[in-house]
């Protein structure tokens, strides 16, 4: 009889790990060696460090492994550390991660969102013996990381557990680099309609209506099936709410989807959907379909990434329509002239980081490798590559990519070239560089976008709190059910298959019944200890 493939697969991993590796459960965490022979980079040749990381799509377009990029070939020369990259298939990071966890053969370094995606949270990952606490390792082998954290106490607070343990070498989104996603609209169409850039919900409605009247049947489109896009809907943030937990004005954590503001958002968005202002296929739209709609003029507004989306739509649109231009619009508000309080921005630390696992054979090498990109030299290298080859410094001290990158002859996109010669273009365990962001945003619309999309939202987005392992487990259990329900109902309210006026109260009651109050208590407890760090 055929059982579910999944069950067989998972269970097979479990058993094979058990049979193949009978001693693994008795292994103890390796003590950090105290005698370091480090005498500066490049280090002497030794066994490669295995590094599990999700490659950016700009890398996978041209390389099967990050190790094949010119960047890492150069990095090997500079650091002397060989890296054996292990990449999960795109879109299956979580499944792959689960399988590695169940199997127990962890690579030396694993880049992952340890904060939100490890069940039980980072403290549990350390307690489970999956990853190492990095406090000693930072002290001994990572002078550059130490120096950076000492200079940035805010970040330092964010990347620890409540009891002060470092669990990963983080990706830090420094000031101004986090606003890389937001609402955008065709400025040439706006001019044609004689409308100003919309800033409020009413103005948006007015613009979308006018666009519809001019023959654009469904002016607003976004790939709503992607969780990020669904959760970061600008037309929701206008109602001062969020699609999940957020910090409200009273400095406690609230759950957005059961609050009045969220209801108003749904009512408004459902109305837009009903009137055809939003694409009718909203829940099933794929990124390619949105690209097609946005570049062909079937839609004129979306919320999307500044680089991969806006940066590729503009040149693509201009091929058929020379007037084609997109501009970023501020995160919408309800009242005219308000500063947007809510919106989305990457948190300084979102939980992504490179952890050193307990199976790491040479901890010092792994730590030195990660630390290198936090030195001034290493950081310039990480974001700009090699001086006079891939970048030059002008008279004012500004960094610019050379023609090798910007005017490549291979027909690669700018992102793909940057991803070949640097590691700036995707999530990497070091701090982000605004100089790169502005260089990468080569079009004026893109450069402006970073500032236009600034809001006060960092106050309201959930900081990297770490509930206790038991609490995390309860929380995950409760939220897995609630999230399924909330997503399902939110969509139904928008599509009009469920009547908001009639069903809203039942919906809220059901979420309460599923235990949202307990979840909120856990979140707030963790938030309190976060503030007391």
């Amino acid at each position: 009889m055929r059982k579910t493939t999944l069950l067989v697969l998972m269970v097979l991993c479990v058993t094979s790990a058990l049979f193949a590796n009978g001693t693994k459960e008795t292994e103890v965490q390796q003590p950090v060696s105290t005698s370091s022979t480090f005498t500066g980079y490049p280090m002497e040749k030794d066994t490669p460090v295995s590094f599990w990381i999700k490659p950016g799509s700009s890398v996978t377009a041209n390389f099967s492994s990050m190790g094949d990029t010119p960047f890492y070939k150069e990095a090997l020369k500079r650091t002397g550390i060989d890296i054996d990259f292990q990449h999960p298939p795109i879109g299956q990071e979580n499944e792959q991660f689960s399988l590695i966890m169940a199997d127990g053969n962890y690579p030396d370094i694993m880049m992952y969102n340890w904060l939100s995606n490890y069940p039980g949270g980072p403290a549990k990952a350390i307690a489970d013996g999956v990853i190492m606490s990095l406090n000693d390792i930072f002290d001994k082998y990572c002078p550059n990381i130490k120096a950076y954290l000492a200079a940035h106490p805010d970040y330092d607070k964010a990347i620890k557990t409540d009891d002060g343990q470092y669990y990963c070498v983080p990706m830090i989104n420094t000031e101004g680099t986090g606003t890389f996603l937001g609402p955008m609209i065709r400025s040439d169409i706006l001019a044609h309609l004689g409308k100003e850039v919309p800033t409020t919900i009413d103005e948006w409605y007015d613009v979308l209506k006018a666009a519809q009247a001019s023959g654009i049947s469904h002016p607003l489109a976004s790939e709503f099936s992607q969780i990020d896009i669904r959760n970061w809907n600008p037309f929701m943030y206008a109602y001062k709410t969020d699609s999940s937990f957020f910090v409200a004005d009273d400095n406690t954590i609230h759950y957005g989807p059961i609050e009045e503001g969220y209801k108003e958002y749904l009512e408004n968005f459902a109305k837009w959907y009903r009137e055809g202002l939003v694409d009718p296929d909203l829940p099933s739209l794929t990124t390619d379909q949105v690209t097609e709609k946005m570049t062909s003029g079937k839609s004129i507004a979306a919320w999307a990434l500044v680089g991969g989306r806006m940066g590729s739509w503009i040149p693509a649109g201009q091929k058929t329509n020379p007037d084609y231009m997109l501009i970023a619009t501020p995160w919408p508000t309800l009242g005219k002239g308000e500063t947007p309080e809510y919106g989305w921005s990457a948190m300084p630390f979102s939980g992504n980081g490179a952890a050193i696992t307990t199976k790491c054979k040479n901890v010092e090498r792994a730590a030195r490798l990660l630390d290198y990109f936090w030195s001034n030299e290493g950081h310039d290298f990480a974001y700009f590559g090699t001086k006079d080859v891939t970048y030059t410094i002008d008279a004012d001290g500004n960094y610019h990519y050379t023609d090798l990158i910007t005017k490549n002859t291979k027909g690669w996109t700018l992102g793909q070239m940057i991803a070949a010669y640097t590691i700036a273009n995707y999530t990497t365990p070091t701090y982000a560089d605004i100089r790169y962001s502005k260089e990468y945003a080569s079009l004026p619309s893109q450069k402006e976008a970073y500032d236009i999309w600034r809001t006060n939202c960092l106050k309201h987005l959930l900081p990297p709190i770490t509930p206790s392992p038991d609490d995390s487990k309860t929380l995950a259990r409760i939220m897995n059910e609630i999230t399924t329900y909330q997503r399902e109902l939110s969509l139904k309210f928008i599509l009009g298959t469920e009547d908001i006026d009639k069903s809203w109260d039942t919906y809220v009651a059901n979420i309460k019944k599923m235990g949202i109050d307990q979840a909120l208590a856990i979140e707030n407890k963790a938030y309190d200890s976060y503030q007391n760090r």
Binding site: T5, L7, E95, D128, D281
Partner: protein, 301 residues
């Protein structure tokens, strides 16, 4: 006794070797994993390993039975399976009978090849095609609009989901599943048809009294196997086709296992759900076998 075994071995050595890979397949992929299913009764944590993870008794099962989604998952899995069986099962028999009656050899081969080609297309591609056909500007809506209907997005309507699933399932499998009936049809003695014709039976009577009884054992065995698989719909097609708007009719046990096991990393819980599903399948198979033994001579054991 011993002599008998060694004699048998001597005589059938090559046959045993031939069956070895199949036996190994089942040992490795079906029997060994059963041991791992024990984590359904544990609070499995990979770091603690299999033996040290604490036992929790039936907690994982109780949690599933009390879950708000329990009845919905059962209902969706059951209905989707039943519809696939109800429409898909006869479809392949009918196709086989029709192909069997085609006189032109080339036409017959062509129809056969075309009908089982979809079976070899990757599911991801098939689902991509379905998604493109079902959007409000897609092929199906073009047809609807041509006949004066209004365009509407189909893949986000819970009421349409099962139809889309079942119809595409039939399209994909009908040719492949008809092969076995075609083989059975070849085995019917042509003398029986001659005799029937002499007795004055037309095409229809021949079908009823010769053809169908001739392939009845095959049909029953296939039906038994299908019933045994009734509740074990794979998660692959579902996760490629559903979205939160259609969870109501689309979410089935295996997609739920997929979400809780591989996305939310609740290994023990998802194993418990999967195990529960397997137990139901076993029960269904035994029931079907019992009924078949009672009412006909054909059964699996």
């Amino acid at each position: 006794m011993k002599q008998k075994i060694s004699q048998d071995w001597q005589r059938n050595k090559s046959l045993y070797l031939l069956v070895l890979p199949v036996v190994l397949f089942y040992v490795i992929f079906a029997y060994k994993p059963m041991y791992g299913a024990l984590i359904a009764f544990k609070d499995y944590s990979p770091a603690l390993g299999f033996s040290k993870s604490p036992w929790v008794g039936t907690e994982n099962f109780t949690r599933f039975f009390q879950s708000v989604y329990f009845w919905r998952l059962i209902k969706n899995t059951f209905l989707l399976s039943i519809y696939c069986l109800l429409w898909g099962f006869p479809a392949s028999i009918i196709l086989a009978l029709m192909i069997n009656n085609v006189k032109n050899k080339h036409l017959k081969k062509t129809v056969q090849t075309i009908s089982y080609l979809p079976h070899f297309i990757s599911l991801v591609v098939v689902c991509g095609m379905i998604a493109d056909f079902c959007v409000s500007t897609g092929l199906i809506n073009d047809v609807i609009a041509f006949f004066g209907g209004t365009r509407k997005p189909l893949l986000q309507d819970p009421a349409q989901y099962r139809k889309i699933y079942v119809i595409s399932q039939i399209w994909q499998q009908i040719g492949w599943e008809s092969i076995i009936y075609l083989a059975a049809l070849c085995n019917i003695d042509s003398q029986l048809y001659e005799a029937a014709r002499i007795d004055g039976a037309g095409k229809w009577k021949q079908l009823l009294h010769v053809t169908l009884p001739g392939i009845a054992p095959t049909i029953i065995i296939m039906l038994l196997l299908s019933i045994g698989r009734l509740m074990s719909l794979g998660y692959e097609k579902t996760i490629l086709l559903y979205n939160p708007a259609t969870y109501e009719t689309a979410d089935i046990i295996s997609s739920y296992v997929y979400r809780s096991g591989l996305i939310n990393q609740e290994w023990s819980y998802s194993t418990a759900v999967g195990l529960f599903n397997s137990v139901i399948n076993l029960g269904l198979l035994m029931l079907a076998n019992f009924l078949s033994r009672k009412f006909s001579d054909t059964s699996l054991w």
